[in-house]
């Protein structure tokens, strides 16, 4: 992956680099949808050797996108929202546009139920 030639202020290179992998984005999605999970639970979703998967988690951790908590012999991961929110601010006008519109669509659906 080529290095960014210009990096906007306030954005963290490591966050963007961490997000540039489909596996790591999928881990974030799993944590977003399923809440905190053990390494084993997360690893079950991927056909990947454990050391490689641990490396993916390390990259996410160092980017501040996830945090780790030890509980007995298990390690649990959770999503950290702040760096993602910063990335969100940076997203394209189009994706932002659609996310906002789709949120509005949800509000329309909620209102429809009352009819």
């Amino acid at each position: 992956m080529p290095r960014p030639s210009v990096v906007a202020e306030g954005t963290d290179d490591r966050v963007f680099a961490a997000l540039a992998s489909p596996v790591r984005r999928e881990v974030l999605r799993l944590l977003r949808d399923g809440g905190p999970q053990s390494v084993q639970q997360l690893a079950d979703h991927f056909a990947m050797a454990r050391p490689s998967f641990s490396e993916q988690l390390r990259i996410l951790r160092e980017a501040g996108l996830v945090s780790e908590r030890k509980d007995g012999r298990q390690r649990f991961y959770r999503l950290e929202a702040v760096p993602l929110a910063e990335v969100q601010d940076w997203l394209s006008p189009y994706e932002r546009f659609w996310r906002e519109r789709m949120a509005e669509l949800g509000a329309v659906l909620d209102r429809l139920e009352d009819e």
């Binding site: 210009v6 906007a8 394209s92 189009y94 994706e95 659609w98 519109r101 509005e104 659906l109 139920e113």
Partner: protein
């Protein structure tokens, strides 16, 4: 993220597909979440919608839309062009409804970003792979106003 000419967004609604479909295809409902326009569920139907201009991309905001195809309560494909310059933008929006539990997962695939158009591509870069090329501060500010 791998295809520089598309955007994909999905979201879950705790409502059945039939209801989500209504919100996608009934003009008075579309107006409430997207833009007012004379939509009709009929392949080939053309209509316009007034949206917001996207200065950073040169998009005028007036959308010339066309129903390209649909499968009832499952898929709806809409073509979007810039009414001010039909050559400039040629997007396809594909809405896909997938039952999920008691609700619906709605996928949007927004295709047709022109890789050869630096303005379009730059705007898309910020979304899809901003981490690949970064973006000048001035453009970022422009985008913030949208």
């Amino acid at each position: 993220m791998s295809d520089p000419t598309t955007i994909e967004v999905d979201t879950f609604y705790p409502h059945p597909p039939a209801k989500v479909w209504r919100a996608l295809t009934e003009p008075e409902l579309i107006a409430q979440w997207l833009m007012p326009g004379d939509f009709r569920l009929e392949v080939g139907h053309r209509y316009t919608m007034q949206g917001r201009a996207v200065a950073a991309t040169g998009f005028s905001g007036m959308v010339q839309a066309e129903v390209l195809g649909f499968e009832l309560e499952k898929v709806l494909r809409i073509g979007w062009r810039d009414a001010a310059d039909e050559q400039r933008v040629d997007w396809t929006l594909t809405w896909t409804l997938q039952p999920e539990g008691r609700g619906t997962r709605l996928f949007l695939l927004h295709e047709g970003f022109d890789p050869d158009d630096p303005l379009q591509q730059q705007a898309h870069t910020i979304m899809g792979g901003g981490w690949r090329s970064g973006v000048p501060r001035a453009l970022e500010k422009l985008l913030d106003r949208i």
